[in-house]
Symmetry: C7
């Protein structure tokens, strides 16, 4: 089973956030609000979305930074994914 996103949506898998400090302490609270690193798992076809032509700029395998609040958590066969609109991806990490 796999997720095939519609329109300008992108399926991401979060990279393990290094949210422990150097001394190994887990940072709570505010840390949850930081944008996330993720890998692109699937990319929608783009096309006309809400009356605007959208070309997909990211591809499967890209590592990206996205704004966590805009995504929707999805769970499929006990694996967790995040579905975002491409516009919620801020930058690609090269």
């Amino acid at each position: 089973m796999k997720l095939v996103p519609l329109f300008d949506r992108v399926v991401l898998k979060q990279l393990v956030a290094e949210e422990t400090t150097k001394s190994g302490i887990v940072l709570p609270g505010q840390a949850k609000e930081k944008p996330q690193q993720a890998e692109v798992i699937a990319v929608g076809p783009g096309g006309v979305v809400d009356g605007k032509e959208i070309t997909m700029q990211v591809k499967v395998g890209d590592k990206v930074i996205y704004s966590k609040y805009s995504g929707t958590d999805v769970e499929l066969e006990e694996e967790k994914f995040v579905v975002v609109k491409q516009n919620d991806i801020l930058a690609v990490i090269e």
Copy 2:
């Protein structure tokens, strides 16, 4: 009796959410806010919606992930459905 959606609306039937953990405990609270798996029961004709041309991408029988908050619960002859706009469907499960 059946529901015939207008415009870009889609009638969904929720798949039974596996909201019990492996040990059989029902997860309350936050679990209610997760997106939902559903089967497509009926698809509107698309066309010009709110001044924008919309082509329907899903078809009857598709299993989809949608954002629960955007749908409207509908009950017809003691069966429950959810009516969403196609744009609220995040991905098709293949």
Copy 3:
């Protein structure tokens, strides 16, 4: 006297909601928030509404499901109606 809706508005008459359970108990509270079944009483002419061409898809006599919150209650000669925009009608019941 009759109501002649303007633009893309539709006059509905609610069908008696079966809000009693099988054992005859009236469901309060949350039940009030559910979408409603209604019959179409009058249909506006459509045309250019808010700069967008709108074609009317419903006709007098259709039974429809609409989202209750979007309608406006109207009373004329002691009969109650609901005036909605066509876009607030989710599906036709066939």
Copy 4:
């Protein structure tokens, strides 16, 4: 003195609302939120409003139902009027 509305605005004069029940009791509270019957006193010229071409559909003397919350109360020479945009008129009463 008279009010000459600009653009797509319409000047209404509320018809006396029959807000007493058959037994003569005035209905308070919720009754205030109901849409209103009114007579059209003056109609703006229409034309391009907010970048969209608007044709006026109502005429002086029409009896209409409008959504009370959208109007602005105006008082001129001790007479009370309501100025609404045509789009806030739900239906004409014929």
Copy 5:
């Protein structure tokens, strides 16, 4: 010194509101929320505003009704004015 409004803005000078009742009592509270009568002091050039062509319909000397909440109070050389967008003017008083 004078105020030359930009775009679709209009400079108004409030006419003395007759906010005393016949018996001479000043009405407080709710009275402040009523729309206002004013005289047009200066009119912007119109033209393309926010991507839309706007033609100015009012002229200097017009007496108008406007919605008080939309205006901005301005004081110049100890005289008070209100600057509104033309679209906040509801009607001309003739």
Copy 6:
């Protein structure tokens, strides 16, 4: 060092607000919410902003009235400026 605004932005320098009354008392509170007189220090190039062609109407040296809430305070080399969009300038003082 100088500020070169982008797009339709304008750099203003507030004129000393005469917020003391004739008898010399500083007016607190509500006085802070009044629009401001300012001098134009720098003007952006205009052009296509948010999909709309914008022509700059103000020029360096103009004295203007603007709505204080829309501006952003900027400090450069211990001098204070306000950066606004041209559309937040209400009128030029001539």
Copy 7:
């Protein structure tokens, strides 16, 4: 590793804010809400963003003023960056 912004996004690195007064006291509270000086580290390709053609006006190395609230904090290899849309950059410092 480097950040390659998508569309009209710009990666900024905040310049050390001189938030101490002349006598060396750090200003707390309100100071946090002031716009920020930053250096441009990477610039997206522009192009059609949300249906509008956007040309990038800033370039790598520019010192800019931006509105802090609109940016998203990003951390990569223990260095902190801010990703903003070009439209959130108020002015270039020359």
